[in-house]
Amino acid sequence: MLKTLVAIGFISLSFIVHAGADVVISNAWVPEAPPVARVMAGYMTLKNTTDKDINITAVSSPDFKNVEMHRTETKDGMARMVEQKSLALPANGETIFKPGGLHLMLINPKRKLARGDSVTLMITADKKQITLKAQIKEATLDDHSTHQHHHHH
């Protein structure tokens, strides 16, 4: 019995570590939005370190009523958001969520969020869950993913 419990413990532990190692998420940030805004965007970089594609099938957050993955597409001068129910992270590849492209749509914040705050994101990658924090930062045209400690003038 004890052996089984220990084994289960090891398996679940290895799952968490494994999930963390399979998909490495960095530079998760949320641009601050006007106080009245009912939706915010989330950006981040996801690295699939494995030799196989990994699918992101869900994103949620305790800080928002709902979270969706979208891709902004501009065709013939028309901008539209295309929801991605599932997103394949290519093997050994990097997938970047950034302004004008892939983004998280964070719908109905449950509390007032301003720069300096952070929110929790839960990402389901091939049935494993990755939990991470994203910081609310000043909305600028700079790509925060390349300037983590950028000083604003």
Partner: protein, 217 residues
């Protein structure tokens, strides 16, 4: 005498034809070809030489005040069509315009001064109070307008902007597809230019400054 006339008439006819063709060519050159060729390279992709007056506008601004085409007069208006439930494109475009405002040379800010007008194509969710908070978060001088759909359409059709709704999972979750371009209206109230996306701050600053220099009046 008779032989003289017979001799001269082909010459005369040719002379008349040549003169008429030259005159037509000159008129076409001066009225059509030359104005287009004369358009400086810096503004050629943005500026609309013919222009078109924008009329019949009956919208409300972010202070719930009537907004008509009179509000375009005496200012250079940058119009962007969007909605506040827009997480990516609209904030990015407003940040671009905030940056443009910061980078415009003093000469380009003088009268007729530029104004940024955010046109909400989602009047059911975007009330004037929400719009005021939203645009002024980006810049205290930015203004927003909206109104009933048929009145929004009166504006969009005149400046070639489009929008449409796409259902979400819940009734109030719909999203709005919208033109990504920024429309320029001149101080005489004419539709005068289009900045296509993706929008680059320096590009808009340079082009707008050149348009101001070029545009008569």
């Amino acid at each position: 005498m008779t032989s003289d006339t017979e001799k001269n008439s082909p010459f005369l006819a040719i002379a008349i034809i040549v003169t008429v063709i030259s005159l037509i060519a000159a008129v076409v050159w001066v009225t059509v070809i030359k104005p287009r060729q004369a358009l400086p390279v810096a503004i050629a992709n943005t500026y609309i030489p013919e222009g078109r007056p924008v009329v019949g506008i009956q919208l409300k601004d972010h202070n719930n005040q009537p907004f008509s085409e009179d509000q375009f007069k005496g200012k250079w208006s940058f119009l962007f069509f969007g909605f506040t439930h827009c997480p990516d494109v609209c904030p990015t475009t407003l940040l671009v315009m905030k940056s443009v405002w910061a980078k415009l040379p003093e000469s380009a800010k003088q009268s007729p001064e530029p104004q940024l007008v955010f046109v909400s194509v989602d009047p059911d969710r975007d009330t004037p109070a929400i719009l005021k908070n939203y645009v002024q978060y980006y810049h205290p001088d930015f203004i927003a307008i909206t109104g009933k759909h048929n009145f929004i359409d009166i504006l969009t059709v005149q400046v070639g902007a489009l929008y449409g709704y796409e259902d979400g999972e819940n009734e109030n979750d719909y999203t709005v597809n919208h033109s990504a371009q920024i429309v320029l209206i001149d101080p005489q109230g004419y539709f005068r230019g289009v900045f296509t996306s993706p929008h680059q701050v320096n590009e808009i600053v340079k082009t707008f400054t050149a348009i101001r220099d070029y545009h008569p009046g």
